[in-house]
């Protein structure tokens, strides 16, 4: 039976989502981590609302980066360990279709979930409600870009025994521009000025990684799978 590209994409996506939802603990852990890290900052620094509001974009974004990183390690690992990834690579479908589906599934369960929780964290950090739209939009663009960058890093480190720290070392420098523009957009939204410029740059980064990163991630997987 010949399976079309689009069909294969949807099949892998559905499989990944089903696998994630059957392990709700793993699904929730990065979210809880996100909540805990954002709680740590007010406790460690100050509970003054005006000061919190100034730090909020940075805290939010750093926590989002770290919590996305946490789940990235598992992106290809379990499939590579039990040989599923090799089977998928040999399935006759382009490996980049499979990489795209897996990365999108990763974003849906980590990044998109994080975006949905962000208003709660935003309220706790005294971000005004008027800024929630920009905050969520910038976080969606940013976490999607991060998932793509992370797919490259995860592909490069999948065969390694202690790849976790290395993965952060590789992905975080590449993610720094995201942090700058993402926190910048949120910051502007909080102070009430137009965040359009930073959002456009985030969107540009997102399009750039969506188009180029699948190829880089596929090449990385091919290097480590061989």
């Amino acid at each position: 039976m010949k399976v079309g590209v689009w069909e294969a994409f949807l099949l892998v996506l559905r499989r990944e989502l089903a696998l994630s939802f059957r392990r709700p603990d793993q699904l929730l852990q990065p979210l809880v981590f996100f909540l805990i890290v954002t709680t740590l900052f007010p406790l460690g620094l100050s509970v003054q609302l005006s000061l919190l509001r100034d730090m909020a974009p940075g805290v939010l974004w750093v926590a989002a980066l770290l919590s996305s990183l946490l789940s990235l390690d598992a992106l290809f690992k379990s499939d590579a360990d039990d040989g599923t990834l090799e089977q998928l690579a040999l399935s006759g479908q382009g490996l980049n279709v499979i990489v795209m589906a897996k990365t999108l599934a990763h974003w849906l369960v980590s990044g998109a979930a994080l975006v949905l929780v962000s208003p709660v964290v935003g309220t706790a950090l005294a971000i005004p409600e008027a800024a929630f739209g920009t905050m969520m939009l910038s976080l969606s663009l940013g976490t999607l870009t991060l998932s793509w960058l992370g797919a490259i890093g995860a592909g490069l480190t999948v065969g390694l025994k202690r790849g976790n720290v290395l993965l952060s070392l590789i992905v975080l420098p590449l993610a720094m521009p995201l942090l700058i523009f993402g926190a910048g957009a949120t910051d502007r939204a909080i102070s009430g000025t137009s965040a359009a410029g930073a959002l456009y740059l985030l969107a540009a980064l997102c399009v750039l990684t969506c188009t180029l990163a699948p190829f880089a991630a596929t090449a990385a997987l091919r290097i480590t799978l061989e």
Binding site: L156, T157, L169, P173, M176, A216, I223
Partner: protein, 244 residues
């Protein structure tokens, strides 16, 4: 016409060429850096704004330029190794990474020493400084990824791919002073038309730049020879070369 290029894929040939080139690179680098140092530190007039403190440019600018040049070299050598499966490409990329990282560190350190009297601070979170710091982290990432693999060939290819991905940062660093309002001063040398520097200041700088490039070439030759010896240690020609 291409035979010289094909020969560069052969380890013994590269080993010999690097050995022959090293003294030339060192001699010319000593000349260029010697002239640049004396002319830049003694003969060039003090800057009308920055006084004598500007003279650190003769180390800072070439180091910063070399940090980008070495990264590009690493990415190009890595892609040659990745695309055409030429082992020497990976050897050159592996040999370049620590040199480039050192130049990046030198640029950051001299920059902050320069920033202290001029801007009143060692460090500012300014686009150019930040992107140069990211460059250092990228170098460190590439250097730690390569030995993480048990199979050196895989480590080579993974490091090459990562360095190609990181190339996006190079134009960002180069154009950061144009794209953003930056504390860092704008381009002075590579300006279209007339450089914003008198000849007595400019020539020593260009000479230092050339000298740094030649010095990089010399160190690269030595390091490439080390890499080749290490990578080809099972080959008979290496045993003969080491014995003699």
């Amino acid at each position: 016409m291409w035979t010289w290029f094909y020969k560069l894929a052969s380890p013994p040939y590269v080993f010999g060429v690097a050995a022959a080139l090293t003294p030339w690179f060192f001699a010319l680098a000593a000349l260029a850096i010697g002239y640049g140092t004396v002319a830049g530190l003694v003969f060039a007039p003090p800057d009308y704004q920055q006084g004598d403190a500007f003279r650190i440019i003769y180390v800072h600018a070439p180091a910063a330029w070399l940090s980008l040049f070495a990264y590009t070299t690493m990415a190009v050598a890595g892609s040659i190794g990745l695309i055409w499966r030429i082992k020497m490409g990976h050897a050159v990329a592996a040999a370049t990474a620590p040199i480039g990282a050192s130049f990046t560190l030198l640029a950051l350190v001299t920059g902050s020493l320069w920033g202290r009297p001029m801007w009143g601070t060692y460090w500012a979170w300014d686009p150019r400084l930040t992107s140069e710091l990211i460059l250092l982290f990228l170098y460190i990432g590439v250097m730690s990824l390569r030995p993480a693999f048990e199979d050196p060939a895989r480590g080579d290819r993974a490091a090459a791919l990562l360095s190609i991905v990181g190339v996006v940062n190079v134009p960002i660093i180069h154009y950061s002073v144009l794209w953003w309002n930056s504390l860092h001063q704008g381009a002075t040398v590579a300006k279209i038309g007339k450089p914003a520097m008198p000849g007595s200041m400019l020539w020593p700088l260009l000479s230092m730049l050339l000298g740094f490039m030649l010095f990089y070439g010399a160190v690269l030759c030595i390091r490439v020879r080390g890499e080749v010896l290490n990578r080809e240690r099972q080959a008979t020609w290496v045993r003969e070369a080491v014995k003699s």
